[in-house]
């Protein structure tokens, strides 16, 4: 579940501390923070900066560079739909259109009921079972409209 636990400075510090010895620790730390809290809380940035002897701007620069890191909490579920060519060749664009219609969202947005965040992904390596998606950690291939809408209903329950 991507939602994660509520932000806590103490827990954040703890996570930073367990990873900061790693070579090139910034990404492992940010991944671990996001795993715990569901996103990178604003208050985490100065903590990471201090631990790694970087400026806050540098840490923010890293967070904002990578598509994976979120600055706001996601919905209860995250649906990542592949938008890349192999999935396009099997009708992914039309599927994405239907999902956006059904959820009333654009890419990177969360449905009004807070249940599903829709994110684009450029390739899940499931190009031989396109169109493909990932719902939270679960991979799904060979999607069609019926299966995808059923999946959305499941996520919104």
């Amino acid at each position: 579940m991507p939602t994660g636990s509520p932000w806590s400075v103490e827990r954040g510090e703890e996570i930073i501390c367990t990873h900061k010895h790693l070579a090139g620790a910034a990404l492992p730390i940010l991944h671990a923070l996001q795993r715990e809290f569901g996103f990178i809380h604003r208050e985490a940035i100065p903590l990471v900066a201090r631990a790694l002897n970087l400026s806050r701007a540098e840490v923010y620069g890293i967070v904002s560079f990578y598509h994976d890191f979120r600055e706001i909490p996601p919905g209860r579920h995250v649906l990542r739909l592949c938008r890349a060519e192999a999935c396009q060749s099997m009708g992914a664009d039309a599927l994405a259109e239907r999902v956006r219609e059904r959820l009333q969202v654009n890419w990177h947005e969360t449905s009004a009921d807070g249940r599903v965040t829709l994110e684009p992904v450029f390739c899940l390596g499931l190009c031989a079972c396109a169109p493909a998606a990932m719902l939270d950690g679960r991979v799904i291939g060979g999607l069609d409209q019926t299966r995808l809408l059923a999946l959305l209903d499941e996520a919104r329950r």
Partner: protein
């Protein structure tokens, strides 16, 4: 009585098609019937249109069934145990035409062995390459890899032996081996399949590289979009440490080598080696200007070999079987085998490892069986989002680095994405620019600004605004990006754009070319 052994893939592709439900159904049926079975989780053999494909071990060898779904198990369970008749029975996997026609060199064990078992790996010829490497010593290992003709399978095709030699020659207290597992090209999944199906092969290749160049530490940079590969590799590294394949005395030798995984964070550009290195160091994944080359100043400023997963995973077999076996396969200056990944709208979708030199037509029509939709093939994009779109008229192009380059294309990492006649090539050209705009690291202007302007120009062409003028502008912009960008992202995005325009002008509102081919 020994329990029947059933092989179920744990490859992300097979899981995406329902392999977990198959396993659950097998376990439920086992309990219901009180018959004990042993379930072994393998990688995938790569016949994705038959996944989930499960196998049973019989006296006559393994017998495959597929595609099997959870609900099939109740009826399949009894015949399955004996390898008996059933509508889903495929026979011996090795006899299936798609597998029989391949030269499985790097993927020989993928889908066959228990992916988590070092003992099974060893039983199937694993660690023979490392044993030979240890007996040869560094200079002879490099010599062997050079003689094999192995070139970087990430896409650039740089000779692996030369890269290793340069790193070995560099003087430094600390050197690194970095495995590039940031397989971001759409249409490619060979790295993922290898890591999920034969993780010890990759570890063995990395260890050999470390010994050859004098590195004691390695990193595998895996993209975050591959959680299953990350899990399988993480466990394999732990096992390799426990079993003494990694650590203070590699496989009982005097060599020290340890390996860590780093996970990417969704930036396509990090597949480019210098931005990967910046990302590995915990920075924004921005491209570095070269020189200095990574072999002299790579990870953390130290001499570093950066190799793709398939390059490194080919090394154990090259050493075990000898450079000549590998070198004698192939075509022109492209030696050995390449895992061709048939993807998108193609009937027989999957990984086909073959010696270089098949024609694109053979790959798409013959091996791939045409489109999955049953409509005519119109365009094929080879080499990922930066690869050219080829029309049928160019289906005689041989699958090798030089032949594709000669036709303004690239084979890249070996992905082949097939489109039927419903494709709108102007939309594909626009997408290439849009993708570049989304993924540009922002370091150089042609890529950062050019990609956004590119989307706008293509939009104007599609709308029919001053078409002739905008077509000239697009050509000019592509020229600037091609020659002015720092790396292949901005530098190669003109390939899909210009090829779409050249071979499918009617989609841009221009007069169709009589004969689009050269």
């Amino acid at each position: 009585m020994t329990r029947p052994r059933i092989f179920v893939p744990w490859d992300a592709g097979a899981l995406a098609l329902g392999a977990s439900a198959v396993e659950r159904a097998l376990i439920a049926e086992e309990r219901k019937r009180g018959v004990a079975i042993e379930i072994i989780r393998t990688g995938s053999r790569g016949l994705l249109w038959l996944e989930p494909m499960i196998e049973v071990e019989t006296a006559a060898g393994r017998i495959a069934y597929g595609p099997v779904h959870g609900e099939d198990i109740a009826g399949l369970f009894e015949p399955l145990l004996e390898g008996g008749r059933h509508p889903l029975r495929l026979g011996r996997p090795e006899d299936l035409a798609f597998l029989r026609r391949q030269t499985r060199f790097t993927f020989a064990r993928c889908g066959v062995i228990d992916r988590q078992s070092l003992a099974d790996y060893r039983r199937h010829g694993g660690l023979k390459g490392l044993e030979r490497a240890l007996s040869l010593g560094p200079p002879a290992i490099i010599e062997e890899v050079t003689r094999s003709g192995l070139r970087g399978r990430g896409g650039a095709g740089f000779p692996t032996g030369i890269k290793w030699k340069s790193t070995a020659d560099a003087r430094a207290a600390q050197k690194y081996v970095v495995c590039n597992a940031d397989e971001g090209d759409s249409g490619t999944y060979a790295d993922r399949m290898l890591m999920e199906g034969d993780p010890f092969c990759l570890i063995e290749g990395i260890v050999i590289a470390g010994i050859a160049v004098g590195a004691t530490k390695g990193f595998i940079y895996i993209r975050s979009e591959y959680p299953h590969a990350i899990r399988t590799m993480t466990r394999a590294i732990e096992t390799a440490r426990t079993e003494g394949l990694l650590g203070e005395r590699v496989a009982g030798s005097a060599h020290v080598f340890d390996l860590e995984i780093r996970v990417g964070a969704g930036a396509y550009v990090c597949g480019e080696e210098t931005s990967l290195l910046d990302s590995l160091e915990g920075k924004r994944g921005q491209v570095r200007a070269k020189p200095p080359l990574p072999v002299h100043k790579g990870a953390f400023g130290q001499p570093t070999v950066v190799n793709n997963v398939i390059s490194l995973a080919s090394v154990p077999a090259i050493l075990a079987e000898g450079a000549e076996v590998y070198r004698d396969l192939g075509h022109g200056r492209s030696r050995g085998t390449i895992p061709i990944q048939l993807a998108g709208n193609v009937k027989y979708r999957g990984l086909f490892e073959a010696a270089f030199g098949l024609s694109l037509g053979e790959i798409v029509d013959d091996i791939g069986g045409g489109t999955a939709s049953g409509r005519p093939v119109r365009a094929v994009q080879v080499g990922g989002p930066l690869g050219a779109y080829f029309p049928r008229a160019l289906f005689d192009t041989a699958f090798d680095y030089e032949a594709f380059a000669a036709r303004n294309g690239l084979i890249g990492h070996g992905g082949v994405v097939v489109f039927d006649d419903t494709v709108d090539m102007a939309k594909q050209a626009r997408f290439a620019m849009e993708f570049c705009a989304i993924e540009s690291c922002g370091k150089c202007t042609p890529c950062r600004i050019g990609s956004t302007r590119g989307v706008e120009v293509v939009d104007r062409i599609i709308r029919g605004e001053r078409r002739a003028e905008n077509l000239t502008l697009l050509q000019d912009l592509c020229e600037t990006m091609r020659f002015g960008s720092l790396c292949a992202l901005g530098g190669f995005v003109p390939f899909p754009v210009i090829s779409a325009l050249t071979y499918f002008p009617e989609d841009f509102g221009c007069a169709p070319l009589g004969a689009a081919a050269e």
